[in-house]
């Protein structure tokens, strides 16, 4: 076999190389972190921006979708902070502990750091990287192994983020919301990296919202690593309502230990190109894992959800449930892979992905994959694509419900199958209302 031909560097790739070499000296962290950054950039440089021939990026040709690389966002000034203060309206009033990340930088003065529950500690990633023996030194890049180029780029250029530690047995009842905001008229790039460690038996709920200006082609590359200790319980909900021109690339790596409970839900309605990568490693026995996602896409939006679930230990149960509602010329991609290793006997894993196409020109691509090396397992996946059931719609209309309202009802029920699994009631209601607003607001 001939060796793989190294592709020509694109403009964006060349620009990223320049950005990295210029920013390098000022990026936070000691020599170990610097070495990690350098190695990660090499990984990125070797692979380049993902394209169709990279199987996990088959349907999202980032090389074509990301023509240029934007400059790194400067530290947020007073203006930016003032604009950011009003962000996160979707979950406003729910009384969550809010942490603000403005243009990629953690802003303590906007954040609620008072009355931290016992066992809970929060710091900025930049500070944690600079500390000689902080949590990043132990965990960063070591939760789930991945050679993904976008993640590597994040590792190379990560500026700030949040580090949360929940001590063994601590129960943090008040959900923690990370509000990611991009501001300003100039297109910038942000690279945030966060780390959440839940020690044995700890429990917490995390929310993430991502938003920014509508008319600016800014670029977000964000990553979250999470360690869920034995018997711990965690739920995380990520809401992406980026501006219409934005490119949003997100990676979550989660390592889950024995007997823990892990839940993750994506809700995506904003952004021009959105990629959510979720890599979950079930390392111990008896884990209960639940993963869900809803994409509501219109216009020329393109969203890609990539799930890689690694059942490495016996007797874990996982449920994966994803829905997409597509209008305009939107494209939704779902690639979900469940791997069951030889040791992972008695695995019970079920995945269902469904897409609803509302327009003549929307597109849906699904790749639900199973990779099984253990015989005593129950694994399955299902996938459907289609349009609304016209008979049911007619039935509703015959009872006097207008077409659009009837559609909205049916579609809400369709995404409700995922949203119903969201824990905090306030979030469930807010997402349900956001869905309804999206539906009634479409052309």
């Amino acid at each position: 076999m001939a060796a793989t031909v190294r592709p020509m560097k694109t403009g964006a790739e060349l620009a990223l190389a320049e950005i990295f070499s210029a920013a390098r000296p000022a990026l936070p962290g000691g020599p170990d972190i610097a070495a990690q950054r350098a190695a990660a950039f090499d990984t990125f440089a070797d692979a380049g921006l993902p394209h169709r021939r990279v199987e996990t990026w088959k349907y999202t040709d980032l090389r074509a979708l990301m023509r240029d690389a934007k400059p790194l966002a400067p530290l947020p000034d007073a203006d930016a902070k003032a604009q950011a203060a009003t962000a996160g309206a979707l979950l406003g009033g729910l009384g969550f502990r809010r942490l603000f990340l403005v243009n990629g930088t953690f802003v303590p003065e906007l954040s609620d750091l008072t009355d931290l529950e016992s066992g809970l500690s929060i710091s900025s990633m930049a500070d944690a990287l600079a500390a000689p023996a902080g949590l990043p030194a132990t965990y960063l890049g070591r939760t789930v192994s991945s050679s993904d180029a976008v993640l590597a780029l994040n590792t190379a250029l990560m500026g700030d983020g949040v580090v949360v530690h929940v001590a063994a047995g601590a129960v943090v009842a008040r959900p923690i919301e990370m509000v990611f905001v991009t501001t300003g008229e100039t297109a910038v790039a942000t690279f945030t990296r966060s780390l959440v460690v839940l020690e044995e038996g700890a429990s917490a709920t995390f929310l993430e919202t991502h938003e920014g200006p509508a008319g600016v082609a800014y670029q977000v590359n964000t990553a979250l690593e999470m360690v869920v200790g034995a018997g711990a319980s965690v739920e995380r909900i990520k809401i992406t309502t980026e501006g219409a021109e934005a490119v949003h690339l997100a990676t979550m790596l989660a390592r889950v230990e024995t007997g823990a409970r892990f839940a993750n839900t994506f809700f995506t309605s904003g952004g021009s190109v959105v990629r959510n990568q979720l890599l979950v490693h079930l390392a111990g026995e008896g884990i209960n894992a639940h993963m869900g996602g809803v994409s509501l896409l219109a216009g020329k939006q393109h969203a890609d959800t990539m799930l890689s679930l690694d059942h490495a230990a016996p007797s874990c149960e996982s449920r994966e449930s994803f829905r997409a509602v597509l209008d305009g010329t939107a494209q939704d991609i779902f690639q979900g892979k469940i791997a069951v290793r030889q040791a992972a006997q008695k695995t019970d894993a079920r995945m269902l992905s469904r897409a609803l196409l509302l327009s003549e020109t929307a597109e849906s691509c699904n790749k639900p994959e199973l990779e099984i090396f253990a015989d005593d397992v129950q694994c399955g996946h299902g996938c459907t694509t289609g349009t609304l059931d016209q008979q049911i719609k007619f039935y509703l209309m015959a009872r006097g419900i207008p077409a659009k309202e009837a559609e909205a009802l049916l579609i809400q029920a369709f995404v409700g199958e995922v949203l119903d699994a969201v824990g905090p009631e306030g979030v469930r209601t807010a997402l349900s209302e956001a869905t309804r607003a999206w539906l009634l607001g479409r052309e």
């Binding site: 006997q345 691509c365 699904n366 015989d375 694994c379 996946h381």
Partner: protein
């Protein structure tokens, strides 16, 4: 003592002698010089007495092939193939296209007899007891290494207007038909192995069913690789003209050899308006021994083009052989209202690697497709279903239903499912479901409590698992397939 554990032990102990078709026929052969070059292609073309356009078609493919790369995306691994260390053409010495069976070399006739393939026209596939007079007729084209050695029932088929002959002969007798359709479904640009096939293919079957004709009997081709270090590159072309119907069967075996042998075939099907083609395969190439030594590399491109409205193409395959299987019988659903079907049983044992599935490409309006795939993995094998279902922009009302189930016997094997589902039309309705399970200990115990031996119990459960697909096969073939499944899982199946 766990019954399944026991089964696993037995599967592990499977030896090479389970392969019942591993004998070798001693017959002198005449071969092209070893290796691949323009000269070898000219040699093959000259042997076949081909027209100039055909030689040119081969040479075009060859120059294209030189620039191509072997695909790497399948979940199979094997040492690099030295394409210069193969013979690309081998025919029995003193071979002259036989006019009747009496002219066929008795050694070859014996070989097919041993394989249970009837070349005498009154006979029928061995092992099926059907009273005289009720036996269905099957016409057979027997391909031995690179050449077709016998074709039966020619006269009776001719009377019905059906053309069934070696493709080399069709090139001489029906050049226009061949020229019109050859390469129209699988073009030279298609893939590495198909392009190689286009350059060097030696023989294969050609079938043409004229408009409105229902082919009066099943047609079948039986492939046998005998010669050492010889690649087999056959090419089959079936055209069902408007409103016609044909059912075609394909079987294959090879001697047991320590070295790997390459089989890169191309099958092209064309169904015009309201025509139907049913293509069934029982693939039983030598799978190699328990340690993975030897066996056939089966890299096959099979594609059907539902060119006409309301046409139908149905693929049924029972895959038990080959060291490596790389095979995706597909349907291009071009004609309005056309439909495609894929029914598959893929069994892997020992060190076999199977990467197989289908593509259903919905281009026309109201096209439908159905995929039922049953994978069974045992031993240290890996068994992958890989499939694509796509609806293009204009494929309004397209429908697909896919069901792929995997069964694992033992925990040293792997079962994988890699479906791609692409919808670009809102009225396309796709449903896909896949499950992976094992033969449950409780189910085996239940059967054994009713008096079935452990092997019978496993066989019963496996047969239940594959039943939906077996039902698609013509009766005589279903019996053969069922036996084959038993042999393939011998140790676990009685």
């Amino acid at each position: 003592m766990a019954a399944v554990q026991d089964t696993v032990e037995q599967v592990r102990s499977i030896d090479v002698d389970q392969y019942k078709y591993g004998f070798e026929t001693n017959i002198e052969s005449e071969k092209a010089p070893k290796g691949l070059s323009e000269e070898v292609i000219r040699y093959i073309s000259a042997k076949k007495d081909e027209p100039e356009w055909m030689l040119q078609w081969r040479l075009d493919a060859y120059s294209r092939w030189l620039t191509m790369q072997e695909p790497e995306w399948a979940r199979v691994s094997y040492p690099p193939i030295d394409y210069q260390d193969l013979y690309y053409y081998s025919q029995p010495k003193k071979f002259k296209a036989p006019k009747s069976l009496d002219e066929v070399d008795p050694e070859i006739l014996k070989t097919y007899e041993k394989l249970g393939i009837p070349l005498r026209e009154q006979e029928i596939l061995a092992g099926v007891e059907i009273p005289e007079g009720e036996r269905p007729k099957i016409a057979v084209d027997a391909v031995f290494d690179s050449v077709s050695v016998a074709t039966t029932f020619k006269e009776e088929l001719k009377a019905a207007g059906v053309i069934f002959m070696p493709i080399s002969e069709a090139l001489r007798e029906h050049p226009d038909l061949v020229k019109q359709y050859l390469g129209s479904v699988v073009p030279a640009t298609d893939n590495y192995y198909a392009t190689l096939n286009q350059a060097v293919f030696s023989d294969g079957s050609f079938v043409y069913i004229p408009p409105g004709v229902r082919c009066p009997m099943e047609l079948s081709t039986y492939f046998r690789i005998n010669e050492k270090n010889t690649g087999q590159f056959e090419r089959t072309l079936i055209i069902a003209d408007k409103g016609s119907y044909v059912s075609y069967l394909e079987g294959c075996t090879a001697p047991m050899r320590d070295e790997n042998q390459l089989h890169a075939a191309v099958v092209e099907l064309v169904a015009l308006d309201d025509a139907e083609i049913k293509y069934s395969t029982v693939q039983n190439w030598y799978p190699g021994d328990a340690e993975g030594k030897g066996g056939i590399y089966n890299f096959v491109t099979k594609r059907g083009d539902c060119r006409g409205k309301n046409s139908k193409i149905s693929w049924t395959q029972v895959e038990t052989g080959s060291a490596i299987t790389w095979k995706y019988p597909s349907c291009v659903l071009r004609g309005e209202g056309s439909s495609g079907e894929f029914y598959s049983i893929a069994i892997s044992n020992g060190r076999q690697q199977v990467d197989s599935g289908t593509k259903m490409i919905h281009l026309g309006k109201n096209t439908t497709s159905r995929i039922i795939s049953k994978g069974i993995s045992a031993g240290k094998s890996n068994n992958t279903y890989r499939g694509l279902v796509s609806a293009h922009r204009k494929a309004a009302g397209a429908r697909n239903f896919t069901n792929c189930d995997s069964l694992l016997i033992g925990d040293n094997c792997g079962a994988h499912t890699v479906p791609y589902i692409e919808a670009k039309n809102p009225t396309a309705q796709f449903e896909h479901e896949a499950t992976t399970s094992k033969i449950s200990e409780d189910m085996l115990f239940y059967c054994m409590q009713r008096g079935l031996s452990q092997e019978d119990a496993v066989a019963l459960v496996v047969n239940g698992f594959v039943r939906d697909v077996l039902q698609q096969l013509p009766m005589e073939f279903a019996v053969e397939a069922q036996k084959l499944i038993s042999i393939s899982l011998e140790g676990s199946v009685g």
